[in-house]
Symmetry: C2
Subunit: 185 residues, 2 copies
């Protein structure tokens, strides 16, 4: 069988398979992408949990506390990146997306579906990032109004495959109907 | 023995041990941090190789092709982040740094010390990111003038320890002489 990463369509299919696994399998490489946003003092990066990956239309979703820095950063500059590394495939995937912050009624069904332990991640006191005297000085206080969904509508997917016989880089764009093209690695 | 991640000084020591290993050990978790920069269309993220980590003064170094997007992005906005995840410790480390691009004579000794295979990563034709018809249409052409070092002088280190009995977040700042403080996770 031909290695799917040697063709553009095979590469894009591989990306979506990888993302779909990340959204459903806690142990998949795409489960914890790095989200890069524009902060006040330069770019910021942190790991997030991939909650949804849908190919048509191409979008991804993550959950967040509305008071967290990433939410205010995405409100100020919605264009951001997600990075996934699959060590078995030796494939780096960079997603460029424009993020919407969904909250309130729009995400009530997702909040209702969250197990109690997961809800405790949203709404604690004080707010995320606030200084506290000791690590224990933080109280879980699950609150629907603190919960939001960051929905990223994909604009570009860039892949870099670290192959033994030469690295392969490809770029796929929404404006190009995801046809894609090769680039110098 | 007390878990070092329960104290601020122990947390900072752990970060530097982790970074030092990343700079010397190809299999260490800190070997391949994610570098987040400010791109023209929002934040960008990609994996890099950590080449140096020095605690005093606190700085990190990575190598790059001078024609790569990260170099032009750091020239336009030197403030950027590096993210490391240590799965065994369940520790996320975010480094905020101001990057200088060092090239030419300043980095000639590092270029001389690079093995031939490593040199082939800098100076290929066409330049990184340029469209090519097929993945093989790229020629290695090691060139000292294409090699540069991205030196990040650290401004902040933020840690997040995903502990079973409650997550711990800490923030250390150069302006605070790296004394550090706890923050809400």
């Amino acid at each position: 069988m031909t290695d799917p990463l040697t063709t553009l369509s095979g590469t894009l299919d591989t990306v979506w398979t990888l993302l779909a696994r990340g959204a459903t399998d806690r142990d998949a490489p795409a489960r914890h992408p790095v989200l890069a946003t524009s902060g006040r003092d330069g770019a910021e990066a942190r790991m997030v949990v991939l909650r949804e990956a849908r190919r048509d239309p191409p979008r991804v979703e993550i959950f967040a506390d509305r008071r967290s820095a990433k939410v205010s950063e995405l409100s100020a500059e919605p264009r951001a990146s997600l990075l996934v590394w699959d060590p078995a495939l030796r494939l780096q995937v960079r997603l460029r997306a424009r993020f919407q912050v969904l909250a309130g009624e729009a995400v009530a069904p997702l909040w209702q579906a969250l197990p109690g332990a997961a809800r405790a991640l949203y709404g604690g006191r004080p707010a995320p990032g606030a200084p506290i005297p000791e690590p224990g000085d933080h109280i879980a206080d699950p609150a629907a109004h603190a919960f939001c969904v960051l929905r990223g509508v994909l604009a570009e997917i860039e892949t870099l495959h670290l192959a033994t016989l030469g690295h392969r880089r490809a770029l796929f764009r929404a404006t190009d109907d995801w046809q894609g093209g090769w680039c110098a690695p």
